[in-house]
Symmetry: C2
DNA sequence: CTGAAAGCGCTTACAG
DNA sequence: CTGAAAGCGCTTACAG
């Protein structure tokens, strides 16, 4: 029997009255807290479903210790990476009853600390995911630590020590790419560096150098090009490399955008890829499988990294009723400080035997 | 003189006491409401700055009519477009003291209505931005209308009528691309269609057909290929078109991904682009300027569209103090129902004269 | 296993 | 132009 038609959304009081229990018991059920008789729980859940009761975030947040909000801080530059981070974070958050708030800032903004402090104070997020280059931004990390806001650094460099981190093994991945090229018979292998302020670039070079050394191959300084992770840097590197007296037979660019620049330039100069020149990148960007030939590269499991980051921030199973988790709330977050996720070498058509 | 050191964040009461006014006056100042003596306002703002007082979103949301949250609903597919939407929305929101919550869903999820209903009930966002293909999802629109949640449709098709919409003029833009090709001397121009359930595809075809007709050029049915906005569809179209008895001299693909497929396939088959075949796309995706030759295409001002959508949702100038706006709150949102933003024909290297 | 009371930090609706 | 009171819808800290 429908009672008087409601105009506003049902509250916890409505559920409590209809179920014949107290507000507090409804709260226990909705939050999956223990200590509720099974029959009571069922009765409450029935009324919840009947009324389509949805706890209001702002009220929970104001009264309690959680906001059910996870912030993702990103720089507008690397759209593809950030989109994948958000995808992974948003999906995981939905599974556990959380929501993702995104904030775009320029990494070099002078007022970045104030901006972040403002956001954190207004939103009180339960955690923040820092994507590169923010994961190495000392100002931002400082604000978060001062305000006691939990955070996870994605693929950081120097800021990693002692802080919660999710990353892949860039060194090892770069070794694998280099080993692939060496196994294909290449010896004069060029490397295009990343920007100096981004540690992943250095790590990838480290892996490259280690593999070369392990195989007794010399590193010709002429074949090591500066770069900044942009397409034009790849173009410049290719011009430099291919105009030299002893051009390389393979180029390993430390990210896909630069590899794409190398690829386009080599083709423009009349070289066949991979016949005359093998090219490898790093990231498995969308464009990597759109260009011809498809680019050999390394795929990071970005979505998985984001999911892990969310889990590190909210702790185990802190979800809503019906969202899967039935475990003690308030479990300690950040249990493991470092999570390294497996990468994948993606061998496509831009690399071949000498 | 620092008083007793605080451990928790300052509240509106702290500001009121220190400023010697009531809570309500602080509230007025913070919300840029009229009716506060200038000297009082200044005094309050001084204390706000001193204490670094930041109103807490959850409390404002619970007590008041606004949540300061804008939701962006997106499908995981078109990452680049969505990233640009979020970029524009996030920047605009930050300017006016709002925040962006992102929710990723599959457009074909059977429980999409429940998912959206849940999110809206929990978050109480002040508005939702629907990106394609959600902007044409009747279930989602229905839920939002039933829950009286304001929304804006980005580039919708059949759902547009009578609802708040931001879009570009796809018909006209496609005409311009076609006119460009015709002006370059092309007459046998192929067109690669979009998926049947996405209206923008149909609109682009409409523009193509109109331009052809205006110039008295026939449309050969053999040169109109099916497509679904994916790279492989472009590959398939190219194989079909280039193996025919009278291949086209130009191909206009209704999005960049397909144009990229056409481009790569033509090159693979030994054709020079643009020498033997001109290729044009639509979107100005990142890859469009990464491939060689760079793709002639159409750029939509996606960030600008997102900013407009935010403004339509929050109404004019509803920002916080210090965030720029000093105007009446509660102005009617959605004043203009339809905003059409200017596009830009981007002529690059993939098109040339016959 | 369950509940009554207090309170989170704001805005609303009023009164002056 | 300013303020005192009530209340938004939950959780916390207790008590039983």
């Amino acid at each position: 029997m429908p009672s008087t038609p409601r105009t506003s959304a049902p509250t916890i009081v409505d559920v409590a009255e209809l179920a014949g229990v107290s507000m507090k018991t409804v709260s226990r059920v909705v939050n999956n807290e223990p200590g509720v008789r099974e029959s009571t729980r069922e009765q409450v859940l029935k009324v919840v479903a009947e009324l389509k009761y949805r706890p209001q975030l702002s009220a929970r947040s104001l009264a309690g210790a959680r906001s059910f909000l996870i912030g993702v801080l990103y720089y507008d530059f690397s759209a593809a990476f950030v989109a994948r981070v958000q995808e992974g974070a948003a999906r995981r958050c939905r599974e556990v009853g959380y929501h993702v708030v995104v904030e775009s800032h320029r990494n070099d903004a002078t007022d970045i600390a104030v901006q972040v402090e403002r956001m954190v104070a207004a939103l009180r997020p339960d955690g923040i995911i820092l994507t590169p280059p923010f994961s190495d931004n000392a100002k931002v990390v400082k604000v978060l630590e001062e305000t006691h806001t939990p955070f996870v650094l994605m693929s950081p460099g120097r800021m990693a020590k002692g802080r919660p981190v999710v990353r892949m093994d860039d060194v090892h991945a770069a070794e694998e790419v280099t080993n692939l090229l060496i196994s294909l018979g290449h010896e004069r292998i060029a490397f295009v560096l990343g920007p100096e302020d981004q540690v992943v670039g250095a790590q990838r070079y480290k892996g490259f150098a280690a593999a070369m050394k392990a195989h007794g191959l010399p590193i010709d300084p002429e074949l090591i090009c500066p770069g900044d992770f942009t397409y034009p840097a790849g173009v410049a590197a290719a011009h430099h490399l291919l105009s030299g007296r002893q051009p390389p037979t393979a180029v390993f660019a430390s990210n896909d955008d630069m590899a794409l620049g190398v690829l386009a330039t080599a083709q423009r100069l009349g070289l066949q890829v991979p016949g005359d020149l093998s090219v490898a990148g790093f990231d498995d960007s969308a464009a990597a499988s759109l260009v011809w030939p498809h680019l050999t590269t390394v795929r990071q499991p970005v979505e998985e990294m984001a999911r892990l980051a969310v889990d590190m921030l909210i702790g185990p199973q802190r979800g809503d009723a019906g969202a899967g988790g039935a475990a003690p709330a308030h479990a300690a977050p950040n249990q493991a400080l470092l999570r390294v996720v497996p990468h994948q070498l993606v061998v496509r058509d831009s690399t071949t035997a000498r």
